[in-house]
Structures are given as C-alpha cells and as structure tokens.
Amino acid sequence: MRYEIRVDGDMSETLAQAFPELEHVRMSGQTVLFGPVVDEAHLYGLLARCQSLGLRVLEMRRVPE
C-alpha cells in the first residue's frame, strides 16, 4: 500500500532523511511524504516518528497504487 503524509512546514533536507523509505516534496509551506508502507505497524511507526521529531501531521491518506 502507498500512503501520503502531509506535514506542516517546509521540512529540511536533513530532517527528510529521517524518513529514508519515503520520498518528499515541499509545496506552499507544507511537506508531503509519500511512498510504500509495508503494513499497519509501519504506518503507526511513521506517525510516531513524526511525533517524536516534533512534526505536525495535517493529513494522512492512502493513495491508489
């Protein structure tokens, strides 16, 4: 499954590397992380990672393959 996580703010290149498994794109003051998510555990792990890095998650959705 593929997911898209939209966080508030322009994420630095350095911080984006905290999500090596995802690609990212910055647009209008937001950063979208996207890519394949292995399973539920991975999904919740990504959310926890956002939280522990102080990121504000605005939206998270599953995208068609």
């Binding site: 966080v7 508030d8 703010g9 322009d10 994420m11 630095s12 290149e13 350095t14 911080l15 590397q17 905290a18 209008s28 003051g29 937001q30 950063t31 939280q51 522990s52 890095l53 102080g54 990121l55 504000r56």
Partner: protein, 934 residues
C-alpha cells in the same frame, strides 16, 4: 515561581526550561546519582506530608535488582526559568478529586514539567515513575509501579507482593493492591510519565482494573503523548477524569511574553503574538526561537523572518541553534544523540577527544540542549535527541553504528550490562554482545527474573552467521528457555568443544555452558549428564572472578534446581531433596523466585510419591503461594504444584476438585518439556480416570510414553500400579499381579498392589507373605501404609478373622483420618462396606471417633442428642440414597446402583441434608441412624 524555590543566579540570556529531561535515561550511572536539586524537591515534598512519613530511601535490596533505577522514581527538577502557569495548576488540582488525570500533548509541550511542578508544590508524597521503552511487559511495569509507590512510603503495597516474572502479573496481586489502596483515608498519588511508551493493551486493562477497585485510595496522573487505551469515554461520562490537553498547554501571548522575558528577550506585544501564532503556543518552539534569536545579532528582525518562513519549526530552529555552536560542540552533540544518558567520559569515548566535560558543562551553564542529571551525568531532551540523530545520519552516514559500538564497549567496561547489550545490539556487534552477557554470568537471566523477555527479544535479532562459543551459548539458552532441548543440543556441543580448546580461561563461559548442560540434561531426563554438569560447575566456580557469583544468585539456584530435578527423575529422592532444599533455602529475591518455587513443587512431589499426602499438600500450597507472591507464570515445571494438589485430591476422593486442578496444571502448557512434570501429569490423570471408572482411558494414559534418555523408576512403578489397579477393577487379578511383579518394581506401593491382586485372585496367603516380606521402615507415608493395612484386613476378613479385620480397618481409619485419605477405602471394594456397615462408623471423616471402630462389640452407646423432630419425612428415594451413603458408596456409585443420574442423586442428597438439618455426609448418616431411618 514557588516561594523558596532556588532561582539562583541568572543563567544566561535564555534558558530553555523546556529541556525536559527524560529521567528514563538514568537507569545506570553511579549510585546516588540523584541530582541535588531533585533530591531537595523530593525531600521537601515528603517531609511536608503528614500521614505517610518520609519514604524509605533504601530498604534492603532493590527488588528490581537495579540500584540505578531509583532516579526514575524522582520528580524531575524544573529549570530556573520555568514558568508556573496558575490556570494549569488550578486545573491539575482537580486531579485530587478524580481517580484518573490525563495530561497529553505533543513532544515538547511542557507536560512533564507542568506535572512535576504541581507535584512538588502539593506538599504531600507523590509516587513518580518515568516509563521506559523496556517496561513493555506487564510484570516489569507493575514491578516498577509498586516500587514507585514503595519509594514514597505507600505502605499498603508491601502486602501486595512483587512480580518476578517479566511476562505476567497475577490478577490476585492487582486485586490485593487495589484492595489495600482502597482502604487508605488519604489517596496515594501516582504519576506515570511518558505513558505513551506503554503499548501493551493488557497493561491498560490492568491499570483500569486497579483504578476502578482502588476507588478513593488512588489518584493516577498519566503524562502521555498519545491517548491510552483506557475506557476514557466512560470516565468522562462519569466525571471521573481530569484532562489537560494540548490546546490548554499552549502558551497564551501573555504567558509567552513572560517566558521570553525570563529568557532575556523583551519584545513588543505584536511580535510576541505573531510568534505565538507561528509556533501555536508550542513551548519547545517558543524556547528554541528565543534561543535562536538570542544568538543572532538582531533578535526582533530574526524572529520576523522566522515568522514569515514556512519551515517546520523544531527542525528549523534546532538547525539554527546548532549551527551557531562551535564545530567541536556541534560534533559532540551529534555524537551523543545516540545515548540515553551522557557522562563526559562516555562522550569522550564517542568523540575520541578529551573535551566533553568542558563542553557539556558549558552547554548546561547556558541551558542549551542538555540537562544535568546529577554528578557527572547529563541528558538530552528526547525531541532534540531525535532531530540531532537525523542530523548525525545526514552528516556522517554510517557513523551511528560505530558510535553504538564504542558506547557498548564503554558501558560494558563501566559495568552497565543491560545498556551495553542494547548498544551492542544496535551496532549489530553480536559477538561482542553475546560475550558481554556470558562474561557477566548473566545467562541465567534468560530463565528467571524480570529481564528474561527483554533478553530473549534482544537476542532474537542475532544473525545466524555469528560465531563463537558465547553466541552458541546464547542460542542454546534461547532454545532451552523455549523448552526445546533437542534444538539446543548442537549449539551446546559446539560451544563446549570450542571452550575446551580454550583451556582454563573463560571461566564464566564454561560455567554458563555447564548450567545450560544441566538444564538440557534435566529436560531430556538424563540424570547422569546432569550430575556431570553440576560437578563440572562446582570445579569451574573456583575460577570465577570473586563477587560475580554473589551478583548472580540465580546461577547457583538454577543449577541446584536442575540437579535436584534430574535426581528426582532418577528416583534418588534423598539426594534430590538435599539439592532442592539448598536451592529453596537460598537467597531471597526476585531473580531466584522461579527456581525457589520450582524446588518447593518438586519437594511436594517427592512427599506425595512417598505417600505423605498431607505434607505434599502443604508443600504444594507453599509453592503456589510463592508463585502467586511473585506472579510467576508457568515454566518448565509447569503447574507441578497444581498437579500434586490434584493427586492429593484423588487420594481424598475429591474427584471434581482433582479434575479442576489437573485442568489448571495443564492449561499453560499442554506438553510440559520437563519429564518429571510430564510423568507426574500422566500418573495423576490415569488415577483420576481409574477413580471415575474409566479403566481403558486410564490404561492408555498411564502407558503414554514420556520421552527421556533414562527411565525413571517411580514413573514406571506408578504406571505399573495404575495398570494393575485397572486390571483389578475389570476383574482380572492375574494380569494385575503380573503388572506389579516386574523386577523393576521394588517400591512398597507395588508390593501392596501385588498383594491386593493376589487377594483378589483368592490367594490371601501369598498376599500376606508379600506384605510380611516388606522391610519394616522405608519412610512410606499413610497413603501407602493405609493401603497395606487394608489388604491385611481384607485377608483377615476372608479367613474369617473378623476381629482382626475390624481392628486393622480401625487403625487404617485412624491413620487415614489425619490425612483425610478416602480413596484407599473406596478402592478396597465392597467387603469393607459390609464390615463397616455392621458398625456405626461413618467413613474416614476427620471428625469421626475412629477408636470406636476398634472395639469388638461396636455397641458402645453414644450420647444421643435429644432427638429433634423432623419437619419433613424423608421420601423413599431419599432413604434409598442415604442407605447407600451409609455403605460408603460414592455419589456416582449410588447413581449407577439406583439407575439415576448423578445430578438426581445430588438433589436427593441435598433434600435429605436439609430435612435432617445437616450439611455433611457423615453427619447425615449419623443423624439418620439416630432416628432409625436406616
């Protein structure tokens, strides 16, 4: 700021008081690592209490076996610039009125400091626990909670016991804890910080249970980033929940202005409002922006630019602040981000320089990034540690592994084993990690103590290509802990050969190998190998570094237990008892709780096998009490205590109880890996089936094979006994004799069974000869001697010597009465009922005057109580049932005899009891006789 709180000299233009220090990082370090300021806070909170008195600072050994844990129970200190916000404190005061309070918000929202400040200002003891990612197992979690309460002088928890098994906590323990707490007149206050680290759903359930039943005796405050899996909606509906949520934690512009002023930044109102809007009142963001602005030439312009930007806040600000540090400081901060706790020496080990002490002191003085934890230890705010970690990986890919490796070596060298293992595993350096564990003689902790799950989990990640005897020992230990000695064998063999080549070195590894060998021998039923391993262990102990064995009492306890169990399997009861007793009497404590409990169960089994029913019951109950006290779940000796109790219940003819106990014993592990338990279970089940009259099933059960290297004489004997009894029950005395005549059968019990079979075959002389030939004293208990006496009595009865028969039965009743043995009488068959029927005896109840039975006449008048009138007449059917009851028939037998269902018989009995005004069988028969109803 609270009056009297040491504000101290101004610490610099800005002080990010939000550097919430994770006290979890304090697991290790020097004893007494508690920072002075923290201690002040705790002591003042404690001394102000009126009802609890000061919490005991240290009492005996720490049940968790970790002297450094205490720091996790301390209320964190607040930095000098901490801003106390009255609205939040007032809201938190409601926590005293509701059982549960939840403070939640994102990382860096200021949750911990808020609660810490509130707790310190309460003027009464507050039990504080900062959770750790390794507290995932219920046993560990509750052990910490109990310890946190104990530290604050909550005396009630002492009666609750202490879990010693990582994976489980007994429900009874929680119930006791809740009950004890509910009796308090002032509630105990418990703060669980970083509760989001607890993800196991059963812990949430258990917490909900305790909260509910402790009632007014406990007030719990959860500090968490995520909502716990508790029935919060219900608490809200009941009004039993106080909630402080993220929005409330956010700083208002006024508060932000005060905070910034405290950091030496005075901004116009509009600028502050804009900053609050940009950071959404997020405390960490405010502090970081103050810090970044302070380091720039023109704070106001800087902040304006920041407000206009779109960067992610913490990331951007932290990069800014980091970028303004000297290169050496930056390098050090990035490197120490892999650590939970930092001390200068350890930081030097990571950086390869010698300047960490000065840099850390300077960072702390400026209150940037690090918080001082006491003595020479520092911690990073988790939020910053995460972001610094991201920077580290971006700047120096691959360095992280090397840093973990260095940290592991330093920690190992400084005696912090658990942390060394964690870093070694993180570095993927398994050879080192396995060796660190084995050299510390900690291999026994795979089997006992609160860390067993952690260790198993940690080493489950070990790659299969790691070589070396230590790695093989760890693999063997994991297989053995899982009850698979066959899979452990090759690893053990491999390790043993490698260690032999080493000669006299590596004593800890050799001792570990001997310990695992003893366990493997025990589980495969190879007593000779176990003896050999134990002897080898005894020799190696001379070479072990002094003090190491004292730190690991579980090694000796486990060795003795395995040796005792192997000897028990071999039927060497006396030798077994000496080993088991030594372990049972060994050091008290959490890590030896499991072997102690196992030894008690096995000692009880020995008593049962020797025929000492009452003693076996007491021993088994003691073992179960120990298991409950420490919340031990079942392990290799799975349910042996229950099994012994079931066996005792069969001998007492309490078949339903036996069935329930047997079920309980087998619930955890359908196939116990330990042959002693497996054989014991087969025997008890077969005996129960016999008693229920299911002879074919009993034969099948008894003859089921317990795989083992060497045969066990008592297991064989008892199988033969069951087989013999089954044949006898089906009226085949010849095979019954044959079953117990095997030369391997040498125990008294077998001779008695053979005699019984001879008797049934119509050969009383042969029976008596057999019994007369028995050695006078073999230490056999009543379960055996009573049966022997009954055989003699039956023989006498057959030869027409009724007086002797009666005298013998009388003695048997007397002996059996003490132990409440019933089964031997039921087994003996109808003749004894005839014999007893002529005499007013009422079965071997505990209350019957057995001596009367010895009197030849049996006509001794008994003082009849004035006959009370029967309110209701007994029905004919009830009389039928009562008559059979008087013949000592069981409920099942009565049912069969009268062609009724067991339940119908029970109903008749109940009605008869009611009409007679009694509640026991013996009494019912007596009362019925008194009234001439029989």
């Amino acid at each position: 700021m609270r009056p009297g709180w040491p504000i101290g000299p101004p610490l610099g233009p800005w002080v990010p008081s939000l550097l919430r220090v994770s006290v979890r990082t304090l697991d290790f370090g020097a004893v007494g690592v508690l920072p002075v300021i923290r201690r002040t806070a705790v002591v003042s909170a404690v001394s102000a209490s009126s009802d609890n008195g000061p919490g005991p600072v240290a009492e005996g050994p720490d049940p968790l076996g970790d002297p450094f844990l205490r720091t996790r129970f301390a209320v964190p200190s607040r930095p000098a610039t901490f801003l106390r916000r009255r609205r939040l404190c007032e809201h938190l005061d409601h926590a005293l009125d509701t059982p549960l309070t939840m403070v939640n918000g994102s990382a860096g929202a200021g949750k911990t400091l808020l609660v810490a400040d509130w707790a310190a200002g309460l003027g009464r003891p507050v039990a504080w626990l900062t959770l750790d990612a390794s507290d995932q197992s219920p046993g560990l979690f509750w052990a910490h909670v109990l310890q946190a309460l104990r530290e604050r002088g909550v005396r009630e928890v002492r009666k609750a016991g202490c879990p010693a098994d990582a994976g489980s906590v007994a429900h009874a323990l929680l119930a006791r804890l809740a009950a004890e707490l509910s009796g308090r007149d002032r509630p105990a206050i418990l703060v669980l910080d970083e509760f989001d680290r607890v993800t196991a759903p059963e812990i949430a359930d258990q917490l909900a249970f305790v909260l509910h039943h402790a009632g007014r005796g406990l007030r719990t405050v959860l500090v968490t980033r995520t909502e716990p899996v508790l029935p919060l909606h219900r608490y809200r509906a009941e009004g039993t929940l106080t909630e402080v949520r993220g929005a409330e934690l956010a700083f208002t512009p006024e508060e932000a202005a005060t905070l910034l002023a405290r950091h030496g930044l005075r901004l116009p109102g509009g600028a502050v409002a804009a900053l609050v809007a940009r950071t959404r009142g997020w405390a960490a963001g405010l502090r970081l922006s103050a810090l970044a602005a302070q380091r720039s030439g023109d704070p106001e312009t800087y902040l304006k630019e920041f407000e206009a930007g779109h960067s992610t806040i913490a990331d951007f600000l932290l990069a800014e602040v980091l970028g303004r540090q000297p290169a050496r400081t930056q390098d050090l901060l990035l490197r120490v981000s892999v650590l939970d706790r930092i001390c200068p020496d350890l930081a030097d080990a990571l950086s390869g320089r010698r300047d960490a002490g000065a840099i850390l002191a300077e960072l702390h003085r400026a209150n940037a990034f690090v918080e001082h934890l006491g003595h020479d230890w520092y911690g990073l705010h988790p939020l910053f540690a995460e972001i610094l970690g991201a920077h580290l990986r971006a700047r120096s890919p691959g360095l992280e592994t090397e840093l973990h490796r260095r940290a592991a070596r330093w920690l190992r060298h400084s005696g912090h084993l658990l942390e060394a293992l964690a870093h070694g595993a993180a570095a993927g350096d398994w050879e080192f990690t396995a060796r660190a564990l084995v050299d510390d003689l900690a291999i026994g902790q795979f089997f006992t103590g609160l860390r067993s799950d952690d260790l198993g989990e940690l080493f489950s990640r070990m790659a299969p290509d790691v070589t070396g005897p230590e790695a093989d020992l760890v693999r063997a230990a994991r297989e053995l802990a899982a009850g698979a000695p066959a899979r452990a064998g090759p690893y053990l063999e491999h390790a043993r050969r490698a260690l032999e080549r080493e000669g006299r070195g590596r004593a800890a590894a050799r001792l570990s190998c001997a310990l695992l060998d003893a366990l493997s021998a025990r589980l495969t039923g190879a007593p000779g190998r176990a003896e050999h391993a134990a002897a080898r262990a005894g020799e190696i102990k001379q070479d072990i570094a002094p003090g190491l064995l004292d730190r690991h009492p579980e090694v000796t306890a486990l060795l003795q237990t395995h040796l005792g169990s192997a000897r028990l399997w071999a039927g060497r009861f006396d030798d077994s008892r000496s080993a088991l007793c030594a372990a049972a009497a060994g050091s008290e404590g959490v890590r030896t709780a499991l072997p102690r409990q196992e030894c008690l169960s096995q000692l009880a089994l020995i008593d049962y096998l020797n025929g000492w029913t009452g003693r076996a019951e007491r021993g088994a109950l003691a073992a179960l009490a120990e298991a409950e006290r420490f919340s031990l779940s079942e392990s290799w000796g799975s349910g042996l205590g229950c099994l012994v109790l079931a066996a005792v219940a069969v001998d007492r003819d309490e078949l339903d109880k036996a069935e329930a106990l047997l079920e309980r014993a087998g619930a955890e592990q359908p196939v116990p890996p330990d042959p002693v338990t497996a054989a014991g279970r087969a025997i008890v089940r077969a005996r129960l089936q016999l008693a229920r009259g299911r002879t074919r099933a009993a034969l099948e059960t008894a003859e089921s094979i317990v795989p083992s290297a060497a045969a066990s004489p008592w297991a064989q004997d008892h199988t033969a006994l069951v087989v013999s009894a089954a044949h006898l029950a089906e009226g085949r005395p010849e095979p019954a004799v044959k079953a117990v005549q095997d030369p391997a059968c040498h125990r008294t019990a077998c001779a008695v069974a053979a005699a019984r079979a001879h008797l049934a075959a119509g050969n009383p002389d042969a029976a008596l000869d057999l019994l007369d030939g028995l050695p006078a004293e073999e230490g056999a208990g009543p379960a055996v001697t009573v049966r022997a006496m009954l055989v003699r009595a039956e023989a006498a009865d057959r030869t027409g010597d009724h007086d002797t028969a009666r005298r013998l039965v009388g003695r048997a009743l007397l002996d059996a009465g003490h132990e409440r043995l019933k089964r031997p009488f039921v087994e003996s068959g109808p003749w004894i009922r005839r014999l007893l029927g002529t005499d007013p005896v009422h079965g071997p109840g505990r209350d019957r005057p057995a001596a009367r039975c010895g009197g030849a006449s049996g006509a001794e008048p008994c003082a009849l109580p004035s006959p009370t009138l029967l309110v209701e007449e007994l029905t004919a059917r009830e009389c039928d049932v009562l008559r059979r009851l008087a013949q000592l028939m069981s409920t099942e037998e009565i049912a069969a005899d009268l062609f009724l269902s067991v339940n119908t018989v029970k109903t008749h009995l109940k009605n008869a009891y009611r009409k007679l005004g009694v509640n026991r069988r013996g009494e019912a028969v007596r009362r019925a006789r008194e009234r001439g109803l029989l």
